[in-house]
Structures are given as C-alpha cells and as structure tokens.
Symmetry: C2
Subunit: 117 residues, 2 copies
C-alpha cells in the first residue's frame, strides 16, 4: 500500500483506494472464497475447498493467509481429533459485499451482452 505524507488530495486518495481494493481482491480465487463464506458462514478448510471448485490446497492455503493478513477472515484451530480449522469472515469483510454484488450484476449483464453478439 502506497503511503502518503502530509496533506493529501481527495482525487488521489480515491485513486489509491481503488488500486488498494483491486490489489486486495485480485487473483482468481479471493472473491470466490469470500462469496462462499458469505453464503455458508463459518467453514472448515475442506469445505472451502469443495465450494471453490477447482482450487488446489496449495493455492487455497495461500489465498486464505492473504485474506487473513488483510483482516477479512479469521482462522481458528479447533481442539478436535483430527484437528479442524474454521474460517470465518470478519466484520470488516462485510464491507466488501457491495463490491461483490456489483461484480455479479455486471457479470450477468455482460453475459447477456456477449450472447447477443
């Protein structure tokens, strides 16, 4: 994240905010994972795997770590045998809901547009 010194310009702030948001959510899987957690609530590793069809454990692991670093999800190790781990959205993550909904709306419109070509 680019850091600004001193007084800032609102237009530039918005540009940076836009780039931040894109950086945070970009990648093939991050938004799919968030969406899945919205739909199903707290989930374990294997459940996220199943609801994010096509992802491999290595990639899922990495994406989850990044989401956690960005305060969008929490990771909880449960005292079971064998161990299970729960992932849940943070309150902060709920702020991404408008983004996800807007993306879906656009995607639906775009599909119609392309089909009619």
């Amino acid at each position: 994240m680019e850091i600004l010194k001193g007084r800032t310009n609102p237009t530039i702030d918005r540009q940076l905010a836009l780039k931040d948001a894109i950086e945070l959510l970009s990648g093939k899987w991050k938004i799919v994972i968030l969406k899945s957690l919205y739909l199903h609530g707290t989930m374990r590793f294997k459940d996220v795997m199943e609801t994010s069809a096509g992802i491999t454990p290595k990639v899922l692991s990495k994406e989850l770590q990044q989401l956690e670093e960005n305060l969008l999800i929490t990771r909880t190790v449960n005292n079971t045998k064998p161990v299970s781990v729960s992932y849940a959205l943070t309150d902060h993550a709920s702020k991404t809901l408008p983004v996800i909904n807007a993306l879906i709306e656009f995607g639906l419109i775009h599909r119609k547009k392309i089909k009619s070509k």
Copy 2:
C-alpha cells in the same frame, strides 16, 4: 467464458457471472483506465498514458485491446497528421460504474482500518 448447456441454475449463473466480471476487470490497469475515461471522456493514447501514471506503452496497448474486445471501449483513428487515435467508453461500460464506486468505497474504508491497526 464458460458456456452452459440447457437449463441453468441461478446460483451457478451468479458464480460464473462473478468469475467473468473478475476476469474482465482484473489486472493492474484495466479499472484505472476505465476510471480515467469516466473522468475525462474521450481521450487519445498519450493522454491515457499520462493519466495512468506508471504504465508503459506496451502494456497500455494490450489493455486497451482487451477492453475493446470486451466491448467496453471504442477505438477511433482520426484523420490528422500525425495520426491520433481516440478512445471512448461504450454504453456498456457504464455498467461497470457501480463496481468501480464500490471498490473505491471499500478501498477508502480499508485504508482507515489499516491505519488504525
């Protein structure tokens, strides 16, 4: 874009729409370019270069081509010497405005969140 045969499921439709939208808009520059065209209206190649600070001509050229393929911008060659080329948003592109605004809102919120850590 993944094509579905026959009857579809609305939940799956939305998942695919989401992946489409992400694919369409992902990359470091595409949304920045769209945003710039929203702000300034029709622009020439060099103007897009200047308003998208840091991009190189090779990358800009490629991004513009992809946006054109996806029906989000138009490319017009003007009969001047030396030639100039105008890029403008299509009507379809206006459908991405909610996405961009949602991203900016989230980015601004996220910046505050991170700063207060």
